[in-house]
Structure formats: structure tokens, C-alpha cells
Amino acid sequence: MQKYKNPNQHLIAPGHTACPGCGQLMSARLVLDACGSKTIIANATGCLEVTTTKYPTSSWKVPWVHSLFENPSAVASGILAALKQKGLDKEITVLAQGGDGSTFDIGFGLISGMWERKENILYVCYNTEVYSNTGYQASGATPLDANTTTTPPDKKSMGNAFIRKNMGEIAIAHGCVYVAQTTCGYPADIINKVKKALTFTGPKYLEILTTCIPGWGVENEMAVQMGKLAHKTGIYPVFEYYDDEYHVMKIPGEPLKVDEYLKLHKRFKHLFGNERGKEAIKQIQNIADKNIEKYNLK
């Protein structure tokens, strides 16, 4: 018997089936706790949905709806319309959320519509940089040269041939009132950004880079470390954008070289110990350097 009793105060209950150490579940719990119990969630298909709602159970302690992979944004719009009818839209937060596959690719059009309608919804993307739940296929968020099940490196290929989409900038271009990026390396920053986002009325987008343990090929205890390294190398800029201005989280000290981050993943293992890999790493360093310059991260 355990001596101390778990007060179980989080709005996501334990007993979910995410992999040990999952950065996405850690982040989702922080997001929902920051939103508070007066929240209604529309969730896309993906690990977050599958691991928390094994029928006939649910981890969620707030109203939570899943319909399709691509439509949490549209479902959230419907929820908001109903709340408006009831005069409850000022007191209840509507949260739409999904993985990178649903956000960057499959639900992209519907998200664009939600933003066009300027709806007062917070959309959170948990960016694992792959379609985690179906076995790590490349998505529009997968970084250059990553080894995924659809982009295996071989004689002709170094892995994923494309540079990832910049969804944060796409949200800004839609005129979202609040856009932010952070990583699962900064739990306190996740909480602050959700709270800040909710002070704005209108469409809001928060993207959190979240470690997928098997998808990235990292150890169970590495989620926070990886999130921090993605920021400190410039690979993943951490910023907020509101009132026409960027507010960035500066990299403490000199930015680290991208190898420091890449060498810890199995998905980038093929870049080490060969000449072609060296060239590829240079290109990734170049992307990071451009981020550092563009977002003024130093």
C-alpha cells in the first residue's frame, strides 16, 4: 500500500495508454489544467485521442468530443455557436486540438476556415513531427532528412526531402489574434502561453513541439531535454506573436550546434559517420541559423 494518497487534481486522469514518457500527454495535461474546468474540447484523431479514450472509458474530466481526424476546428465552431445561443460563450473556453498530421495536412482547410471566420477558439497543435498514431509516417511538420516509415534513407535519399511547413507563420497570415510556439521542454512556458492566449478574444493558435518517444527514437526520460535542445539550437523557435509584434524566448548563451540535438535521435542516425550526412547536417544548421536570424533568437 502506498503511504501518500494521490489527490488526482489534473483534468486528464491517469490510466491512459500513451507511451511512457510521452511529451504530448505531458503537454496536453498542462494545457487543459491551464484552461481550467470550464472548457469544452474538440479533439482530432491521433495519439492524444486514441490513448485517452479507450472505450468505454475516458481520461478527460471536461466535456470532450471526437468526430473525425480532420474536423476538430469545425466541431469547435459548432460548439461555440451552441454556447452563443445559450449565452454561455463568455464563460466557457472552447479548445480545439490535434496532432501535426491533423493540423498541418489533413485538417488544414477546416482550420483555415475557422480562422477566416475569426472564431473565439484556441487551437492547440501537439507537434510530434510525424503521424505518431499510425506508425510514424512523414507529415507536413516532419523536418528535413528525418527517417520516417514513409521517408526511409537509402542510396538515393537522406530521409524526408522537404523542409517543414511553418504553421505559426500561416496562422499569423490568417490574422490570428494570438500565435505562439513552444516546446515540451518548457512546462511553465506552456502554462503561461495558454493563460496569455485566453486573454485574447478571437482565433488563437498555439503549437507545442512534443517529443514522440518511438517516432523520434529517443529514450523514455528525454522529452524535456529534447524540447529544450530544439530551442537552444534554433531548430524550433519559441515565440509569441500578438498586437503585430513578436516576443521571443532568447537562446541562453551561444546557440548550440544542431548536431547536439540531432545525434540523440534514431531518426537522424543516418546523418552521422558519412560524408553525405555531413553535408545534410550543414543544411540543417543553415535552417537553424536562418531561424536565429529571422526571429532574433540570440
Binding site: Q9, H16, L25, K54, P56, T57, N220, M222, A223, V224
Partner: protein
């Protein structure tokens, strides 16, 4: 299993699924070293690190974890700023 549409279930009911059985290592918290910083509570993907409400000899409220659900990922041990948590083999 017979499904009843629409598929509606009660909130927080995964609590019946004790994931502690997944574990091969378990975190041991040294209550005397713990400074009550809340880091383990923030990072635990299961959300099962918590303040016990009791104070150690230094007057700090120390933390513990719920082994019914802890999957033994080691994140709390790795992130604890004062190394109050260590991982140990969990023989069942």
C-alpha cells in the same frame, strides 16, 4: 463488446486502468532532499506526481508519486533539479 451510440462515457474513467504494471523501473523519492519545487508534478506524463502536504525536517512540503499508474519513464528523476528521485529496478 456491444456498442451503444452515440458513444458516451463517463469522465475520468481511465482510472480503472492501472498502468503501473507497465513499469520495469520505479522512482524512489528521497523526501529529505525534495525541495517541493513542483517540477516532477509538471513533467510527469501520467500526472501522478503530487505534493504530499507533509513537511520534511527542512520545513519543505515534499512530493511523492502514485505507483498504481507510474509507468517508470524516469522523466521526474531526470528533471528533478536536486536529484531527489532515483530510478530503481522494479521486481514484481
Amino acid at each position: 463488446m456491444k456498442l451503444k451510440y452515440p458513444l458516451e462515457v463517463n469522465p475520468g474513467t481511465t482510472i480503472t486502468n492501472k498502468t503501473g504494471g507497465w513499469r520495469t523501473q520505479k522512482p524512489i523519492v528521497d523526501h529529505e532532499i525534495c525541495i517541493g519545487c513542483d517540477v516532477c508534478r509538471k513533467v510527469c506524463p501520467e500526472g501522478v506526481c503530487f505534493p504530499t502536504g507533509e513537511k520534511n525536517s527542512k520545513g519543505r512540503i515534499f512530493y511523492d508519486r502514485d505507483l498504481d499508474f507510474c509507468k517508470g519513464c524516469g522523466l521526474c528523476a531526470k528533471e528533478c533539479p536536486v536529484s531527489a528521485i532515483r530510478m530503481e529496478n522494479d521486481f514484481k
